[in-house]
Every structure is written in C-alpha cells, then in structure tokens.
C-alpha cells in the first residue's frame, strides 16, 4: 500500500512539474491569476498607425498613387490602387479631408486588433466628363482590422459602419 501511494504521489509530482515547466505562461499563471497577460500592443502606436494611414490615404487619392500609403498591408494597398484606377477610368476625382478622427475603442481578438474610430469626412467628388462637382459630408464609425507582421501592426481591412444610401428600384 505504501509503494502504491508513493507511485501516485511521485507521478502527480511529475505531472504537475511538467505542466508548470511547459505551460506556466499560457495556463498556470492565468488560472492562478497571479500574472496578468501583457497587453500585446501599444495603444499610442496603434493610434498613430491609423492616423498616418488616413493622412496618406488623402495623399494617395490626390496623387493617384496607393504606393505612398502607410500602415496598410499589400492587399489593402492593392484594393485602394484598384479604386484609384477605377475613379481615373470614370474621369472622377476624389478629394477627401477629415476634420475629426477619434479612436473610441481598441480590442484584441484572435491575434488581431480591431480599432473603432469615429470620423468626420468631407469629400469633394469631381466628374471631369460631365464637368460636375459635388460635396459629401460623411460621419463614419470605422472598424480597422490590424495584424502584426514582424514587429509592426498593419491595417488589413477597413469597414465603414454608417453612411448615406441610394434607393433600390424594381427590376426590369
């Protein structure tokens, strides 16, 4: 009986010992609540990424060059480049300005950051073919998704939450 108890005690000690060695940061510390998991991002730096992106976005529309975009991944740059080419083909110019950009929330979900902003934009749309110009004031709640590549966070998607709409019409 004594041998039996010894075996049980030794095997439990081995078990917990190896769990402690291998899994202490991901499992043991959080369960014990002794160590708070370190925030994986610097909020100021994230805000700067988002603001720099929007500043260079204005420049990209003006110069017709998405390559100057800062803080965006290649796929997003490609999308904006495609949009600029589309506007150019239509004979449209797109001159956006933002008067306010407030970051309301930064959330860390599944190794991604979701940055929620509140933004006021004033957009001048010029139709060169029709010689028309119109102004659009937009108030957005934007969601930026950021992913970490190496040591830097880059924006992978942008998603506007509010805006104006046209009306649908019956088909045919």
């Amino acid at each position: 009986m004594k041998d039996f108890l010894k075996i049980i005690i030794i095997s439990l000690l081995i078990f917990f010992g190896i769990i402690y060695i291998e899994e202490r940061e991901t499992l043991v510390y959080p369960i014990l609540g002794q160590v708070k998991i370190e925030t994986p991002f610097d909020k100021d730096r994230i805000e700067k990424v988002v603001i720099d992106f929007n500043k260079t976005l204005i420049e990209a529309y003006e110069k017709g060059d998405a390559a100057i975009l800062k803080g965006a991944d290649e796929a997003l740059k490609g999308q904006i480049d495609f949009e600029i080419a589309f506007l150019h083909a239509k004979g449209w110019s797109f001159v956006p300005r933002f008067s306010r950009l407030d970051i309301s929330d930064v959330r860390f979900e599944d190794n991604r950051l979701k940055v929620i902003t509140s933004e006021d934009w004033n957009i001048r749309i010029i139709d060169h073919k029709r010689q028309e110009e119109r102004l659009k004031d937009e108030i957005y709640t934007m969601t930026y998704t950021l992913e970490k590549t190496g040591e830097t966070w880059v924006i992978t998607t942008i998603y506007p939450e509010r805006g104006n709409s046209a009306k649908p019409r019956a088909n045919g």
Binding site: I31, Y159, P168
Partner: protein, 421 residues
Amino acid sequence: MNTFHRIWDFLASRRMAIALLTAASIYYLILLVFSIIASRHNADNISQTYPFLLLYLLFYINIGLCIYRWLPTLKLKLTTFPLKHGSISEHHPVFISGDKSIIVNRLRKRGYKVVDDSGERKYLVKGRYSPIGGLLFHLSLFPIFIGIVISINTRFIGETLMVDGQPFWGMPDEYLWSSAKEPDSMPKLSLSVDKIEADFWEDKQLFTKLTAIVRFPADTLKNQAIMKISDPVVFGDTYVRIAGMGYTISFEAGDKEGYLIDKGIVKLNVFAPGSEDSFSIGGLPHKVYLKVYPDYYLVDGKLNTKTFYPKNPAYYIKIVRGKLILYEGPLLASQEVKVDDFILRLPKVGYWGQVQIVRDGGARFVFAGFILMIAGLVWRFVWYRRDIMLIPGPEGGTNVIGFAEYFPKGFVEWLKKMGRK
C-alpha cells in the same frame, strides 16, 4: 533477488497495472478540469506532455510483460482437467438417478465434451478455450496502440466548401484548410456534388436532415452516394462527410447599358440569417456586405425571415468603395440597385456544404482492436469454462460435481435442473 529482477517483477505485476490505471484516472480527471477551465488546446498540449507519454509507455510494457508471464499459466489452464481439482469436490455433489451414459449424452447435447474417460470417473468440459478470450482482450490493446501511433503521425483532416454541381479534385488550393504539410500527403480523391439538401426542426437552427448527393470520380461521375453528417462516404481509408452548411448568393453585375460585368455564385457565412459577410465583384473595386433573409417578411419595416429555406429571399446590403458607403438598405431578389454606374442583382439563394475530408490510416487498427476486445470479452465471460465430474453413486445413480469459473451457484442449480429431466 537482484535489482533487475525486482524491476522486472514490478513492471510485470498487477500492482503496477493498478497503479498505472489509478494514475491515468487521476491524470484524465485533472485534464478534464483543465479542459473546462482553460481551453481545449491547452488540454491537448498537456495530454502530449512527458508524464502522459511515460504513462502510455509503462502501460504497454506492463501489458506485454504480464502477457508474457501469463502464457505458461494459460497453457496449463487449457490442458488441466478438471480445472480446480481441489475446489471441485468442495461443491455439494448433485445426485442424479440414472446411468452415467445418459447424463453424458444430455451434457453432450449442451456442448460438453468428454476429456477424460479413464476409470470410473468421467470428466466433461465446456468453454475449455475461454481463457484465450482473456488473452485476446489484452492483445487487442496493441492494435489500438498501433492505430493511435499511425493516426498521430499520418492523420489528415481538411475542409472544403462545395456547391451544387461543383467538382472537387483534391488539389491543395481547393481546401479551405488542411492539416497536410506536404501536398503529396493529401488524399487522392475526386467527387462532385449533385445536390445539397437541408431540413430544419421547427424553423430552428437544428438540422433534421443535412445531406449531399455526390458523384465520383469527378471526371466520369460513374458512382453515386449520399453523404450525411453522421454517415460519411468512404474512399478507401478516407472518409468524406458533410459537416455544415451556409448560403450561396448568385449575383449579377452589369453596366448602365446592360452589359454584364461579372456574375457568379459566392459562398458566404450568412447563416444564420442576420450574420453579415462580404464579397467583391470582378472588375470593380466595390465590396458588397450583406445579410440574407431567405424567406423574408417585414416587421415594422424591418427584414425578418419565416424559415431558413431560401424560398423568398431578401437582403440587407451595403455597397462600399474604399471608405464610401454607396448604398445601404434592403434589396429583394426581384430588385436591382444602381451605384457608380453599375447595376447589381442578387436573384437567388442556394446552399453550400461544408465538406470534411478525413484520412485516418490508424482507424482500421483501432476498430479491429475494439472488435478483438469485444470478442475476447464475450468469449471469456459468456462462454466461460465449466467442468463436470461424474462419479458412480449408490443404487446405480450418479454423483455429479461441477465447477464453473463464474456464477457457481447458478451452475449447481442448473445441474440439479438437468438431473430432474
């Protein structure tokens, strides 16, 4: 006794087996607690740590050595009659009036075989080889172990999304995700989906039916099968089953003159209704975000759905270019929306199926192991050994003494009953 023999004895002992099983029970209870309070991923990690590997190793060493040490005893059991000579006479003999030969005939009809007919005593036995069932039970753990090792090292699991009429050739880029590190290690199979069908329980998000009629191989479509959630189609050692569904949206985008820019079917994660997903239109920088209401009706001007069947679809869509929301609002399947000089129509909603492909070379071994285990248990405990010794009794009668490995009282009752016939 030297140290080697002590270790050998301990490794091959029942005490070791009990200690290991107790330790395993405690480990798995702890693991269960971890998997509840932490994530399953962490529990998986822990289950592959050294204490567990050591436990499995010791467990199999123990079984192997126990079997090795038990073989001479087993041989003796199969060749010894009666099995317990001492204890057999401890039973109260049952006196049966009648000649030995009559009783022998009765017992023969019930599957007993005469193993010793020398002298006045007769020995009969039934279930002589049942101890082999015990051996099979323990040996069955080895194919299970081999199967698990093969599974851990070669198991493939992957998922793809398929729609009606879509062929699948098993190419790496056709998978949504897979566990394969090398394309060569993917299963070689091809199939095509004919039709995906879903039924829901009382219009709740519970399937009463989710099936896909498939044809294979994809080039000839020669064979047909139905795959279900719980009933996969088997291709050799590869199992293909439908694991989930979602909605496909047919779209058409045309320019203002009516020429088609792009059309197609997109698989979106918009099930259950109210979930939002997006797709892009070829040749345009726009992104279409949408929610689908497959059988819509209006509640205070807002879209809702009566059922999950795509009978009368409507959408809540948002067309975005860059940061600009060009359109946001409801759209019926019969309607179209015009933005930036192009027209978008979403005429039809269908189903896509989430198809899971699993190749598990070890599953057959595990299955064979469990079959062997059940066979061994049944052999051991249903056809257990029963010995009968017949001794001449007074007045031409016969004293019958019996021994059964299990249920001895019941066996004596049975002997009495047999004697009355």
